[in-house]
Amino acid sequence: MIKSYHEPLTFDQIKAGEGLKAALKMTRSEVIKAISDSGMRGRGGAGFPTGVKWNLCAAAAAPEKFVVCNADEGEPGTFKDRVLLAEYSDKVFEGMTIAGYAIGAKEGIIYLRAEYMYLRAELEAALAKRREDKLLGDKIKGAKEFSFDIRIQMGSGAYVCGEETALIESLEGHRGEPRNRPPFPVDTGFKGCPTSVNNVETFAWATCILAKGPKWFKELGTEKSAGLKLFSVSGDCDQPGIYEFPMGITVADLLVAVGGEGAKAVQIGGASGHCVPYWEFDRKICFEDVATGGSIIVFDFDRDMLEVAMNFMEFFCEESCGQCTPCRDGNSAILEGLEMLEEGVCSQSYLKELCELGETMQLASKCGLGQSSPNAFLSIVKNFKDELLGRGE
């Protein structure tokens, strides 16, 4: 029921304990250098260089530091973390342990979304097994005086908690409302201590990088987006599921692999991503072109793009934390505008105003949610305007 992938993944080639063993032979700064040299950028979608994050966290002077695994995978169309946690949890735990060693943390926390509660029992069992094997807990095997343990804390159903400062607020027992940045979590994070918050997939790749060497990773992908990436493919294609591709693959190539040729548009990066129309399928999926946390949703020619846009905006109206005005009011204003379009009572000048509102939200919202929520709407209006206009009875 949970398994869903097509080709064997790179994670299958790495033996349990291999990455950690390699890391523990190095000094802390060598581990961080390996991650920096690999060129890996955060796999959650924002794409912050992982090596830089770990380095900042390692450099911060504090008695206590934390490693947090962001398993609050809520982006519509994303399910790679579910597969990773169900099938490759060891790689994730190992990546967290490596991060703990590199930055000097003793405790790791997995913030698991409430919807994935069914994974918890197996994850706890896997953690217990690692403690038994001395890969977690007091004095980890192969290291001098390095202790590290991981606990799981459940989320409670809030998309915004995938934003790292909101996630920390939630871990501390507050409403999941994003904080002002700076200070960044690498400096002032969980309980005010330096905290490295990384995506599930980032940790899994960190394990592979340590096992196979940074050069292997760097040579894959493009110049600014190194390495391999998991893609969660859903929608109108023959074979939805998890795919592993190097960064920089074109939309067209990806569609061939998943059996989605003949699509009208592809939503890349989930509800907060961009809608790429069929005449732009030669675009590359990487940080320098269309960025993604891995969500690929395929739409064929029968899909009504207005309905798609409405679904996305309903999602954001529901999930906005309500803290800042551009996001709280902007999303509902756009949704209302889409409903007017559906009824055929939205003038073109009003639609233009809504697009300007969207651009304001991108600039003025406090966190990534509000800054990216108008993306889908704006790209659908830009590319499929003819489809949206002139409706009514």
Partner: protein, 172 residues
């Protein structure tokens, strides 16, 4: 000795606070425990938690009202959450939604009069490749069809009332 329901709740909360630790950081795990057993976080429960953790009850309320998996209202024994996000929508969630409404006899956001089922919408469940998908309490069901919905609800119904009794007596 007669023990009131509130006393039991108080003892439970004290035990959970002891288990997790008297720290604001564990507020959400404690509320989740309350919700799992009592299907709601009542005003009384929130007050007790606030007293135990030494914070203002409004702080507890602010957390309960923020998260969609915590609720101040009573929820049914089974909470059915159907995913309404794009991939499940395209896979035909409307038909499943209609069938759920017919089979349960309540609308989305409502609880059946017998207090057994609550029907709710939810956002992306991370099962986009196998939609339509829904959660029943903590169990994920994928690839739903209207017929499967009936089977799933029947499985739930067999755990209470006359069915459960039959099972216990070995007549099932």
């Amino acid at each position: 000795m007669l023990v009131s329901e509130q006393d039991v709740l108080k003892q439970d909360i004290a035990a959970w606070v002891k288990h997790y630790g008297k720290d604001r950081c564990y507020l959400i795990p404690i509320l989740q425990e309350i919700h799992r057993k009592y299907h709601q976080c009542s005003e009384f429960a929130m007050q007790v938690v606030a007293d135990e953790l030494d914070i203002h009850p409004v702080e507890v309320y602010s957390v309960v009202s923020f998260y969609s998996f915590l609720s101040h209202d009573t929820h049914g024994k089974y909470v059915v959450r159907l995913c309404r996000t794009i991939s499940c929508d395209m896979a035909g969630k409307d038909q499943i939604a209609n069938q759920l409404v017919s089979d349960l006899g309540v609308d989305f956001g409502e609880t059946t009069p017998d207090g057994k089922f609550t029907l709710e919408w939810t956002n992306c469940l991370g099962a986009c490749d196998q939609g339509p998908a829904m959660l029943v309490n903590e169990t994920l069901y994928v690839g739903l069809t209207p017929e499967k919905v009936h089977e799933i609800l029947e499985t739930c119904r067999r755990t209470f009332g006359v069915y459960a009794l039959q099972n216990k007596e070995g007549h099932a």
